[in-house]
Structures are given as C-alpha cells and as structure tokens.
Symmetry: C2
C-alpha cells in the first residue's frame, strides 16, 4: 500500500469518509437570550465520561444557536426513533417552524419534546473553540426514558434510516 492509494485530500477527504459513517441523530433545545426556544438536530452527540456524567457535541461557531450555548445555560437533549423522524425534519428545517408553541417545558423553561424515547437535561459546562467550530460540553443533571422499546433513528449518506439486522452482541 502506498500513499498514492489515499487519493482524496482536504475537505473532500473528510466528507467522503463521513458519508460512509453512520450516526445517531439527537435534538438539542435551549433558550435564546430573550427566553425564546431554540433547537437544532445534531449528529455529533456522544458521551464524554460517566463520572461526572458529561456529553459533548460539535457545532459551527457561525450557527445562530452558538451565542446562546454559554456556560451555565440549561439544555435538553432528545434521542430520536422511527416515530419521531418528523421532529428531526422539523428541527432541521426553517427556524420559524421548529416550535409549534405547545411543547412541554422542563427545568429552566427549556422546550421538551415529550414524545422522544429518551430525554436528558443538563447545563453547558464549557466550550472548546477549534478554527470556526466548537466542541460543547454538557453536564448531565437528569433524564427520563420511555418504557416502550423503539428503533433508533440513524443518519447515513444524507438519509434517515432505522436499524436493521442485529449482527452480534458486544459481550
């Protein structure tokens, strides 16, 4: 194998690889500085350790939500399943259509989509800025999980999928 086999460079090298990588999709909700709801979809949500419980996600600093995700801000994170695909689509759509006004609210008045299979609430702990993007670290406070099993939503090659065949247990 030679370096010539690695024929893609720059941003195309990145994009080509992540087109081949599946991810979960989460909804993140918070409040802007006027107390209005903000929310967006994130495919970068991941655990950052359990003692203390921390979550990280990545966001562009140019995002309209970024100025509101400051240390101490309350945030809710929702996992999605096949039944809540419409919420992924709504929160990836036009900003003025992301909330209907009849969402529930949790701690700190943050909007909560109660139909999601698992919902976690916490606060922004810190942000690490890297070039024009940032890693946001969230301190977990509490969560609720639906007792009804469901199939998680998976994002792959610009499409929404459910999971399919189970290949193996990690035991």
């Amino acid at each position: 194998m030679t370096n010539n086999d690695f024929d893609l460079t720059g941003s195309e090298a990145l994009r080509s690889v992540f087109r081949n990588h599946a991810s979960g999709i989460a909804l993140i909700t918070a409040l802007d500085s006027d107390g209005n709801p903000i929310g967006f979809t994130a495919s970068s949500v991941t655990s950052l350790g359990s003692t203390p419980p921390l979550v990280s996600f990545n966001i562009a600093q140019g995002s309209s939500s970024y100025p509101h995700l400051v240390a101490g801000s309350p945030v809710a994170l929702h996992t999605l399943d096949a039944n809540t695909l419409h919420l992924a689509q709504r929160l990836a759509g036009p900003k003025d259509q992301r909330f209907t006004g009849d969402e529930a609210t949790g701690q700190g008045n943050v909007p909560i989509f109660e139909q999601c299979p698992a919902i976690l609430v916490g606060r922004i702990r810190e942000r690490f800025e890297v070039e024009s993007n940032a890693v946001v670290v969230l301190e977990v406070e509490s969560s609720r999980v639906s007792a009804v099993p469901s199939k998680p939503l998976v994002y792959f090659q610009r499409g929404y999928y459910t999971i399919g065949e189970k290949l193996a247990d990690n035991s």
Copy 2:
C-alpha cells in the same frame, strides 16, 4: 410536565439515554512510543468542520492508548460495515490479539486495515482534557474510499447492527 418526570440522575441518567442512541463505530490505529501498533474501537468519532478538515473523538485518559495520542502523532481512522464486524470485535478484544502482523501500513507506518470501506489518515492536532476524559482533535490529511457500496455498522444497546429501512432523504 414536572421535574419529577426526570427520575434518573447522575451516571445512570447518562447511560440510560445513550442506550437509546445509535452510533457508528470506527477503528482508530496509531503507534506507541516504541513504534508498535495500537488500536481501538470508538463510537464517538464525528466531524468537527471541513475548513480545515477536522475530526474529534472522545477517550478516557486512563486508556492505555491515551499517552500515545499526542500532538503530531499520525493516526488512521477506519469506518466499518457489516463485512468488517470481525475487526470491531477484534479491536475491542484483548490487546495482544488486535493485530495479526500482516496489516498494511500507511503514512508514518500506522497500521491500516485495507478491507474497511473508508480510511482516513491524519495527525493529532490537540486534546481537551475534561475530568478523567478527553476530546481528541485530528487534522485530516487524506483518505481512500472503497468503490463498493456497503451497509455501515451501527452500535446500539450493546449490540452491532446494520442499517435497515430508509425512512426519508434529508433534502
């Protein structure tokens, strides 16, 4: 909805939510300070912006690999599909069985699993330490992608899955 609905706290709050969240699985390979191959599976690999192309993943500082993932170190990141499930299992297993000795090598002599659907090579840029864990940021140099379409590997509820039905395009 009241705060009492959020009945899980602490690390159980975190774990219960991530049990309901799907993720992709990647293999990360590098070299230890003696030039021996190291490698592990990661479910936290995600893009951190394309200009310049950056990737992040999370790791425990107590991991045996962590001391070797220092700024400037060459690293390879491999996506996985249903056909390379055995590599996910091997690199999550005993350390002395992770490499067979006949792996290819790429830039900087880093081990490469050529059968993976997409492979990205780059270097560690920086690490952000948070409690006992860290966010590792990787600068992307180049990549190669198989021309053969395949179904990505998905990790969910401690099991390995492929994707199933396509529900919608994100267009």
